[in-house]
Amino acid sequence: MPETTKRIISLTINGTRHEDAISDNLLLVDYLREDKRLTGTKQGCDGGECGACTVLVDGQSRISCITLAASCHGCDIHTIEGQAQNGRLSAVQRAFHEHLGTQCGFCTPGMIMAAEGLLRRSANPDDDEIRAALGGNLCRCTGYVKIIKSVRAAAEALQ
């Protein structure tokens, strides 16, 4: 195996500063799940196709399974673990819970982070905008209708 160099990255995850020595070839999803033990972010495919691993990097949705951790030096990262505050679900989490936007739950962390990214830049999205923002996230259970409804409900709750 070719030589891999190590480097120090410093970044913020859910508001907390981290500094770590990582290999250049480490993927963001593996850094979060295995180094940081933040296993809420899921890995659902063999690379880039399902959106289960979606997190926010500097406010934008990113596919962490094809993102190098090294490229996130200096970035502000948000994962599903950072959404509930002081034991209270975020508006998006609550809406998914109340409107049955989640069934088996595997796609849910990615869906919620993609929805969170949308609502941060567009407070009152219409259904087309919601569909477009979640266009990279697959769900095998819900049929999507209740997911769209949940995001709409979250937007209304935040108004």
């Binding site: 480097r7 196709e49 596919i63």
Partner: protein
Amino acid sequence: MSETLPGFRLTQPESVDQAVAAMRAEPDSRFLAGGTDLIVNMRRGLAEPKNLIDLNGIAELRSITQDVDGLHIGAAQTLREIGEDEDIRHRYCAVAQACDVIAGPGHRNVATVGGNLCLDTRCLYYNQSHWWRKSNNFCLKYKGDICHVAPVGKRCRAPFCGDLAPVLMVHGAEIELAGPDGRRRIALADLYEEDGADHLRLAPQEFIVSVHVPPVDAASVRSGYAKVRVRGAIDFPLAGTAVLCNKHDNGSMVFVVALTGTNSRPFLLGGVDPVAPGQNLDEAFDQLEKLVQKQVSPQRTTTTAAHYRRLAVAALTRRLARELAADLADG
């Protein structure tokens, strides 16, 4: 911890010269932009570069500007930024339309125009895991010696499936390249070769610095992009068509068409006659549809039938040309 990617070193140059020097120092390196194609391929064992040269930190590659010579886009500009640019949406409509339908939003936040133009070709027998390909004795494109799509042929038939190349081609784009021998500028159409295993005519160690698109007169030009795909999101084009319609002062009309997803290179449709003032437009649309059917060459590289892709992309071209011509007539 298990490693998902093979080992490599990441080099992060801050200028074009530093990137050229990094490539000269380690010629087996690969350039990395958004990584939404390369990292996926590396995960599947389709590339094992020892060194990746990250182009994202080079300021010259990250800009969109307009002047009298037209539109200039840095190669590391993201699809999201390009697609959201108001002026591009207005004047270079096809470019914005293509950006909007590439992959998913999480990809577009980092995927770049340079990476899209240099996208690897794709095939049912290639974009698979290592064990899948190994059990099939690999293929002509990588590690094997037979093309499972056209076993008697000696050429890889994997199609180029990038959505931006055809739209930039109908707008007459040129690209600026940098490499060990300095810089040069070529027509985008000349970047490509009809060979699925070696489809880019880049000199060794060369990379795209920027894309240049001539100015557009919004009063007389319309352009659009349409693609056939299995789902309405995420999917690569089974076939895609870009059409530009230009109405001249004397009332004549010229259609420029470029296609993707059907051949190992994106290409400009040949033999399109200009439409004389007063000529029946339906005849022109018939001609476009027939020319597309004749010049595309889809193979059994997807689970969708090649014949369907041929007919669908020809029909889409016709529909798009009709819509653009009607839009121009309405002013």
